[in-house]
Amino acid sequence: MRKTAFLLALLLGASAADAQLPFLRKRSGQPQQPVLQGIDALRADFAAQAGGTTVYYGAESVILGPPAKAALSLQAAWLRKHPEVVVRIEGYGDGLDTRDHALAIGARRAEEARSYLLLLGVPSTQVSTTSWGKERPGLGRAITVLVR
């Protein structure tokens, strides 16, 4: 249960950004806003420097394994260097779970990751959490998303 999978995923940095893309595409024909390019650049830098934006949890587990802690350490180092950046950690539950329990587990996973970032010196105002429960496909995980 405690076995925590961790992927050094270059792709995953992109996947967090993908989640934003449909909103951008709606403004079809418009050139991209410089502000958005700004945060996109920050996101890319964050994903590269921290080696990804996602940490994984074992099924049913809310405990951070060593690979997850290592990844969060890199995220914390980057966030301390960029105090102007605000992030939200999005927790995900397990697909086989029931809806509300999965929502709570996703929130717990996000909160565990946030607590670890705070432990490593990231100011609490810089990090918020949310949960997607089992409403989006994929493994149990917590993704750090740059909000601004």
Partner: protein, 428 residues
């Protein structure tokens, strides 16, 4: 209100190994008449025919009552509403009979009267009259159907009720979801949200005048309340906490829900009209999915405090918490039946997710569905059926209803895929 003796009671002692399918009570539904004459009378008879057909459709949904097909040749006069020809209906095999009338009023509204009879005994079982807007004839039919169903079975009718659910379009990350509400016969279907934000778990107030649901519009899941009459909406809480799993108390006055405080999910209660939230559980871990008993004195909920999700019952003030599920596997999403007899739940084990019922004292556990992707049970007002969500191929969900006798679940027709169904009590 007297009950008919069901035929099944007479053959129930046969002691066969296989459970007998209860025989349905046959009921005659001849066309409603009218005391009005002339053009107006014809208009009223036309409305009466619509009402009659809707009554038949309502009763045909049930397993306990079997309506005879209405026939326009069975027209009867206004005095015969209260003095029906029982011999005629006996000869057609009917055990029960519905008569009634539609009368136009000076203000344009209609008076509808409904009468239910025991044909064998030649005796009235129930009657009801009401005044409705001319376009509300369908609700009049639902009221008549409920009167007949209750007179025959002793249970609450399910006809004048609403169903809320999440209408789903597309799959995976591209799926859009909207809160939808419809009458239990599928009419008056409408969407309450636009699909811009993810939404979950609509829960109707007992008389279906309000709805609580979870919206992700602000980035975090929050409970919102909507008044179904005015369309006015507000968040349940002023604080931006993660809140979910709302459910109304049986009198509609309070809402129980879950809220995250740090990494801890606990159960809270708050007045539906607004006010301070009262914390009911404090255990570390996930306490969620609270549901009141029909008297409002107890709450059943799920908790993983013991290491796995199990069902617990507590007093409505949070005292006296005790576990009631011990059958192996994980138990979730409990809902107390309107008659207080059962608690429906989702059970998770190697067989996947299935719907079952258990007595509030933890005895009599029974699984009603074979899974493997069933969840989210919600009771019919009759306490005899459960509505739930079943996952299909490619993660596409549908709404199903299953009777407590364990017969095969039937799918509900919805315009799109559906999840998170919630079935209200009888409307005023």
């Amino acid at each position: 209100m007297k009950r008919l003796i069901l035929p099944v009671l007479l053959l129930g002692l046969a002691g066969t190994a296989h459970a007998q399918q209860p025989a349905a009570t046959v009921i005659a539904v001849p066309p409603l008449t009218s005391p009005d004459s002339g053009t107006k009378g014809n208009q009223m008879l036309a409305v009466g025919w619509d009402v009659t057909q809707a009554i038949e459709a309502d009763l045909r949904q049930t397993t306990e009552v079997m309506p005879l097909k209405p026939n326009r040749d069975d027209y009867y006069s206004y005095p015969e509403v209260t003095a029906p020809m029982f011999t005629k209906w006996r000869s057609k095999g009917a055990k029960a009979l519905v008569t009634g009338f539609v009368q136009g009023r000076a203000d344009g509204r209609l008076t509808v009267g409904c009468y239910v009879y025991d044909v064998d005994k030649g005796r009235e079982l129930a009657r009801k009259g009401f005044i409705i807007g001319a376009s509300d004839w369908r609700r009049a039919a639902h009221k008549c159907s409920g009167l007949a169903y209750t007179a025959i079975t002793g249970a609450q009718g399910i006809f004048d009720t609403r169903i809320a659910y999440v209408a789903e379009n597309g799959i995976g990350d591209a799926r859009t979801r909207r809160i939808a509400v419809m009458d239990s016969d599928g009419s008056n279907h409408r969407y309450l949200t636009s699909g811009d934000a993810m939404v979950l778990t609509p829960r109707l107030s007992p008389k279906a005048s309000q709805l609580a649901y979870v919206s992700f519009a602000g980035g975090r899941p929050n409970v919102h309340l909507v008044d179904l009459g005015s369309g006015q909406e507000r968040p349940l809480l002023s604080a931006d906490a993660i809140s979910f799993a709302p459910r109304y108390s049986p009198d509609g006055g309070r809402i129980v829900f879950s809220m995250m405080l740090g990494a801890n999910s606990d159960i809270y209660a708050v007045p539906a009209g607004g006010g301070a939230a009262q914390r009911l559980t404090t255990s570390p871990g996930v306490d969620t999915d609270p549901s009141f008993s029909p008297e409002g004195t107890k709450i059943v909920f799920e908790s993983d405090r013991g290491g796995s999700q199990q069902l617990y019952v507590m007093n409505a003030d949070g005292t006296g918490q005790r576990r009631i599920s011990f059958g192996g596997g994980w138990y979730a999403a409990p809902v107390w039946s309107p008659d207080g007899e059962w608690i429906a739940f989702t059970r998770r084990d190697q067989g996947g997710r299935r719907i079952g019922i258990i007595k509030p004292d933890g005895s009599g556990e029974k699984l009603l569905t074979a899974g493997s992707g069933d969840e989210g049970p919600s009771w019919a007002a009759s306490s005899r059926e459960i509505l739930f969500q079943r996952g299909g191929a490619q993660g596409r969900n549908g709404l199903y209803r299953v009777a407590l006798d364990g017969s095969e679940p039937r799918q509900l027709t919805t315009p799109q895929d559906g999840s998170d169904p919630d079935w209200s009590g009888v409307m005023d």
